[in-house]
Amino acid sequence: MEKEKLEGLIIDYIDGRLSEEEKASLEKELANNADAYQLYEQTREVMQAMDRSAKLEPSFKLKKNFDQILKEEIAQQKPTKVVSMYPTLYRAAAAVFLVLSGVAIGYWINKNQQREAEMLALQQQMQEMREIMISKLGNQESASQRMIAVSQVMEMEKPDDEIVKVLVKTMNEDVNTNVRMAALDALSKFHQDPLVRRELIKSLAKQKDPVVQIALIQLMVQMKEKGVVNDLQKIVDDNKSMKAVKDEAYTGLLRLS
């Protein structure tokens, strides 16, 4: 019998899924074929090991944190809840508002209303995303939350100044290297932006994390930013710099000057 088929039958046999007929035929095979019997023994051992494997217990922190999150969500929800209890009224109000604002926009601007409304929605969406992102970045308990927030910025076409500031702060001060690197990645995507460029240059002088330092130097070279030559020289001359960082700074110097 082909091995894959035999293994399938053995697994179903152990799980008690075979028909009487299949069972009898497999048992015969196991009795007559030593290799098949060994396969059966081994398969049974790993399957039993998995079935017996102990259940893991989460710490109390999980429940505590969840209760906290739930409390916050409920608190946030309060003002909108009243509205959502009257969906028809809400829809009617929304319709009236839309019509009125449509008329108003049409009246005042005398341009394409739809484009205006779209822009408003877009701005609102940006605003919401921004708030969620900034609150996530502030979540000191969870590095993965901060990571997700940073990756959301990457999806933006162009971040505003406030987001840039929060990202810079994250890049310079976050306790987790992965998060700092992610923030740098996000910023490097927008390095054409003068503010981002200035902040990246400033960070080079301040940055203490070697991993981030190296990535920053590489980025400066890529950006052909000659303004950092002095900072690079300082890193090369500084006895406290790590060798790998010094090497990278030196390479950077050669390529920029």
């Binding site: 399957m47 998995m50 259940k55 969840f66 929800q77 990571m147």
Partner: protein
């Protein structure tokens, strides 16, 4: 109250009910994520995110859908999003040597027998999909039908894949045993 009724209530704004779903599911989801990530601390963080998404995206729960399938789909997304984000940055995706340390609490370490240790290490050598199939069908004792719903595929497909995953696990297990 069924899970589905509770989730409907959550969806219509009765957020307090979410804690009942947390009580019913957090251990299962934590075990799923811990076995997938092979890291307890991270698994707690991810479990937290699953429930956060459950609340935030409550409107995406479709009326009539089985809650268990839905919440496991959320958990799978949380897990894969996490690794998408840190992909390329973390070279030791799963460091086989350290699994014992990350999985066991200190007082349990001694109780973890040789067989279980071997099992953990063999699981770490499987592909993510194979590990997931075994965690769901064996560790969590889910029916093939349920797993097929969660993974959005057919029962026959799940069955073939589970069989292959067990075969692969067996190979790794007895190879590692020889060392």
């Amino acid at each position: 109250m069924t899970d589905e009724q509770i989730m409907e209530a959550v969806k219509t704004g009765d957020l307090q009910q979410a804690s009942m779903l947390f009580d019913r599911y957090h251990k299962r989801l934590f075990n799923f994520l811990a076995r997938m990530a092979m890291d307890r601390e991270l698994a707690e963080d991810l479990t937290q995110n699953v429930f956060l998404r459950m609340i935030k995206y409550r409107n995406s729960y479709r009326e009539g859908a089985k809650f268990q399938s839905w919440i496991y789909q959320v958990a799978r997304n949380v897990f894969s999003d996490h690794y998408q984000t840190i992909k390329n940055r973390k070279s030791d995706f799963v460091d086989v040597e350290k699994i014992g340390d990350r999985m066991a609490e200190s007082d349990e370490t001694s109780m973890m027998d040789e067989q279980e240790r071997l099992l953990h290490r063999s699981m770490a050598l499987l592909s993510e999909e194979q590990r997931e199939l075994l965690v769901l069908t064996r560790y969590q004792q889910m029916k093939y039908e349920e797993v097929a719903t969660i993974m959005d595929t057919t029962v026959a497909n799940i069955k073939v894949k589970v069989h292959r995953a067990i075969a692969k696990l067996r190979e790794h297990y007895f190879e590692l045993e020889k060392i």
